[in-house]
């Protein structure tokens, strides 16, 4: 057993867990955050993707003790409020991406991570960033369109922040 503390979607968490438990199961079972999904248990499908200090990781294969003292963001932490979706989620709605929806949390977390490092991804960039996420329903063409759309929305989304920072400087 190990005691550890980390930040989950902006909230401090302190937990006692079995050492070696993958982060996924701590999120889903101990913290009842079920938006992050179990798909393969081997980091092959991406359904369990969350952000660790802003970078995408496969939580099904990530021992939870390694998140001690760090920041985790899950799908539940993306929207800033119930009625204010993240631009990637907004783009996903505009393109009606989800079918069964089971892999979509992981798809969205991978897409957000891509757009945070690359605001104008090419199709090749999207291939590189998204090929670790399997969708059995075959929503890939819409995922691609939605990422391009999210790139457009993100420009507007982040603009006010940029203006503030300019004003401050």
């Amino acid at each position: 057993m190990a005691e550890l503390s980390f930040t989950l979607n902006g909230q401090a968490q302190t937990l006692t867990v079995d050492s070696g438990t993958p982060l996924l199961w701590v999120l889903r079972e101990q913290l009842a955050m079920t938006g992050t999904k179990f798909g393969c248990g081997m980091g092959l499908c991406g359904a369990c993707t969350v952000h660790l200090d802003g970078s995408p990781i496969r939580s099904c294969s990530y021992p939870v003790e390694f998140v001690d003292g760090r920041n985790i963001t899950t799908i539940e932490g993306l929207a800033s409020a119930d009625d204010v979706l993240h631009p990637v989620q907004q783009a996903w709605l505009e393109m009606s991406v989800p079918q069964c929806g089971y892999c979509q949390s992981g798809q969205i977390m991978s897409a957000v991570a891509l757009l945070e490092t690359n605001q104008t991804p090419s199709d090749a960039d999207i291939d590189a960033a998204m090929s670790g996420n399997i969708c059995r329903c075959g929503t890939y063409p819409r995922v691609r369109k939605a990422i391009h759309r999210a790139a457009e929305l993100s420009v507007q989304y982040y603009q006010p922040v940029d203006k503030e920072s300019e004003a401050a400087s």
Partner: protein, 721 residues
């Protein structure tokens, strides 16, 4: 007898454009109460209710597994209630006899039939509700009905809006009208126009609840260790080391498998690897997919099989014979959400939370396995993280019920990906001898001889207790299964009943007795039979020196729907004018009453097949939600590309060799072509869309590979030599 207990199933109207619909009364009803019944709500039928607060609730009697019924069926109700589909509250329905399918006779989601078979019944249910609400408002406020209309969840009058909540009590006293008039297609406001998905928002925020997400107080997690080979059983096991591990509560034998029950999934999974089990081999020990395939090839040479279809006179089959042997492997469904179910068992009842395609079949299966009566069991359906036919089966619900029953705990059974890959009900492997005769460059006959195991043969025995009283002895169920097996339509569907014209046409079926468990896999028999038929048609075009499109047109009647759709696809794809360095292949196939044609463009790099583009034309009657129709075609194409390029489940010694996505690969983003979908305009009633996008892809792709390389690949997955 209550007028509110109406059976909508036998309504006969086609497309109710201003046509009055007749109802069939079913006599004094033995029907159980409607799901979600409330003494304060208006509920004239099983589908719809208005609560005391004025909310409209639709009981979704089909399972949402991505195919869009959550939106599609709600749109049908919304049309007749004249309100935005987003205003309707949708609940997953529990079992009720009124939700039984008029063609399958059970409550089931399959056969791409949900919208087709609900197109009249749900609109009737909604129109009835609207009529009652209008009458109630008229009666309560003493207004002429003609001055009222139902709009956006209110009854509207020149003097002001009347809230549903204010007239529910009156409405509950008003009998259903004998007949209702359905909105004429030219007046549709939502059908054909509504292009959103009602389930999308919850699915992009992570709040959508799948079976695996259900929480229940004090529930424990169980993982099962099943026999490596199908039908094997645990003879004995040693769980001492497992029981010593953190969080483990119990380890028990459950009908031949070993269940490890722990506080969490990870604890159960870790402990499972510490259990040592002595297995008793099952009846398939020694069986491999290679030996099964060789056996089918022998059957094709030695057995005549059962004639399924014959058109024309055998004597017309003149000229030289051409034959080709085609093969497809077993395939797994590989839904993204592994199988799971939560069961809570008390002495009086069993409750199950899960995602399943046929709660009706599951009720019988659980009753059978536990000794409870169907009426004591409730199944709370959730969103399905993929179905594709896998979740028609009840095995994982039965497991959860049995572990809960035997352990005494509320139990969530969660399968690993490995469990899922190795414990599926697979798309059957199949071998087909295609043959034709060619006389003076004219094809005079086309024949198909199929050797394959029978899904029906396995399935009917397992589910006939749903359709027949439980006192019928097992022997009779088995006999029925045997009867069904030898003429299983799923084995030859798509080879028969097409409108290609040759002087002599014939299809025969030989059932292969031995198989691992098989089941219904998105598009079922069409998934392989379109590959056989449309590849061989292409072979005949090449042999007679004709363009593949022109050859098909030459053998189709002038008024053929197949002709119209393939011509449209050819036009949309610039057939005959591929991009530089690319090659085209074409195929058309009808399944689930829908016609789909696809043109695939490929290039070849070494031995690698690169798919650049798929142009898809679909004719599916009225597209209730055109964007979902497009999405289903796109998804069907990606699903079919996985099967055509990668899918191969192999069996050695009665056990599946693949285990996870590294050795049973899925198509990924970087391999996904551009997909263009065109929906043919139609005023006909809707037909299926969930499955029909799958079948034409493999042959169109194989035909493109032939165009590019001259290699005729007669086996899936496609591999260049």
């Amino acid at each position: 007898m209550s007028l509110s207990r109406r059976n909508f199933i036998k309504s006969t109207a086609l497309l109710g454009g201003g046509i009055a619909i007749g109802f069939n009364l079913t006599g004094c009803s033995k029907s159980p109460p409607f799901p979600n019944m409330s003494s304060t709500a208006l509920q004239p039928n099983a589908f719809l209710q208005v609560t005391a607060e004025g909310d409209v609730i639709l009981q979704l009697h089909k399972s949402e597994m991505g195919q869009g019924v959550f939106t599609g069926l709600t749109t049908l109700a919304a049309e007749e209630l004249n309100m935005d589909p987003a205003q309707i509250i949708v609940q997953h329905a529990e079992f009720h006899p009124d939700f039984r399918d008029p063609e399958f006779y059970v409550m089931i989601t399959g056969g791409s039939s949900s919208v087709r078979l609900s197109f009249v019944s749900i609109r009737e249910a909604a129109a009835t509700l609207a009529a009652i609400l209008k009458s109630a408002a008229a009666q309560q406020l003493n207004l002429p009905e003609s001055s009222l209309s139902v709009v956006d969840g209110k009854v509207v009058h020149a003097s002001g809006d009347i809230l549903f909540a204010d007239i529910v009590d009156t409405a509950r006293t008003i009998p259903s009208p004998e007949a209702v008039t359905l909105t004429a297609p030219q007046d549709f406001k939502y059908i054909g126009y509504y292009n959103q998905r009602l389930d999308a928002r919850a699915k992009v925020t992570g709040s959508s609840q799948f079976g695996i997400d259900v929480q229940y107080p004090e529930a424990l997690t169980a993982v099962l260790i099943r026999s490596p080979d199908f039908g094997g059983r645990a003879k004995s096991f040693d769980a001492i080391a497992a029981l010593a591990k953190s969080g483990v509560r119990t380890v028990l034998d459950v009908d031949g498998a070993v269940a490890v029950v722990a506080d969490t999934y990870w604890q159960a999974r870790q402990a499972a690897s510490a259990v040592t089990i002595e297995w008793e081999k099952g009846p398939l020990s020694g069986v491999s997919s290679d030996t099964l395939r060789n056996e089918r090839h022998t059957l094709l040479e030695t057995e005549s099989g059962k004639n399924v279809e014959e058109k024309g006179e055998q004597s017309a089959a003149s000229g030289d014979e051409v034959t080709a042997l085609y093969n497809v492997p077993y395939l797994a469904h590989a839904t993204m959400e592994p199988m799971n179910a939560l069961a809570v068992v008390s002495p009086e009842s069993i409750e199950i939370w899960t995602g399943n395609q046929s709660p009706d079949i599951a009720l019988s299966a659980i009753a059978d396995a536990t000794g409870y009566r169907r009426e004591q069991i409730r199944i709370h359906n959730q969103m399905l993280g993929g179905g594709f036919g896998r979740r028609i089966l009840s095995d994982y619900l039965v497991e959860a019920a049995r572990v809960a029953q035997l352990s005494g705990f509320p139990i969530k059974v969660v399968w690993s990906r490995e469990d899922d890959m190795r414990g599926d009900f697979y798309r059957p492997n199949s071998s087909v001898k295609m043959s034709a005769t060619i006389d003076n460059n004219v094809v005079t006959s086309l024949q198909a001889k199929v050797a394959a195991p029978s899904i029906m043969g396995q399935f009917v025995g397992a589910v006939s207790n749903t359709l027949m009283p439980q006192w019928i002895p097992d022997g009779l169920h088995n006999k029925l299964a045997g009867l069904a097996a030898s003429s299983d339509p799923a084995a030859t569907e798509g080879l028969v009943e097409n409108d290609y014209q040759f002087p002599y046409m014939r299809t025969d079926y030989i059932m292969q007795e031995t198989s691992i468990p098989i089941g219904y896999w998105r598009s079922v028999g069409h998934s392989q039979n379109a590959f056989f038929m449309e590849s061989f048609i292409d072979e005949l075009a090449a042999r007679t020196g004709q363009d593949p499109l022109q050859f098909r047109l030459n053998h189709l009647p002038a008024d053929s729907r197949r002709r119209k759709v393939i011509e449209e696809a050819a036009a949309r794809a610039d057939w005959g004018k591929p991009e530089a360095g690319q090659f085209q292949g074409i195929a058309v196939h009808e399944s689930f009453h829908t016609m789909v044609a696809q043109v695939v463009s490929v290039s070849i790099e070494g031995k690698k097949i690169k798919v650049h583009k798929v142009v898809c034309v679909v004719e599916c009657g009225i597209a209730v939600n055109p964007d979902i129709v497009s999405a289903q075609m796109e998804g069907g194409i990606v699903f079919a590309l996985t099967a055509a390029l990668k899918g191969d489940i192999t069996v050695v010694d009665g056990a599946v060799q693949q285990s996870n996505f590294h050795n049973y690969e899925m198509l990924r983003m970087n391999e996904t072509p551009e997909i263009e979908v065109h929906i043919m305009p139609s005023a006909e009633s809707p037909t299926g869309v969930g499955e029909p996008g799958v079948p034409p892809l493999a042959p169109a792709l194989a035909n493109a590979v032939f165009a590019a390389t001259g290699q005729r690949l007669r086996q899936l997955p496609l591999k260049l030599s």
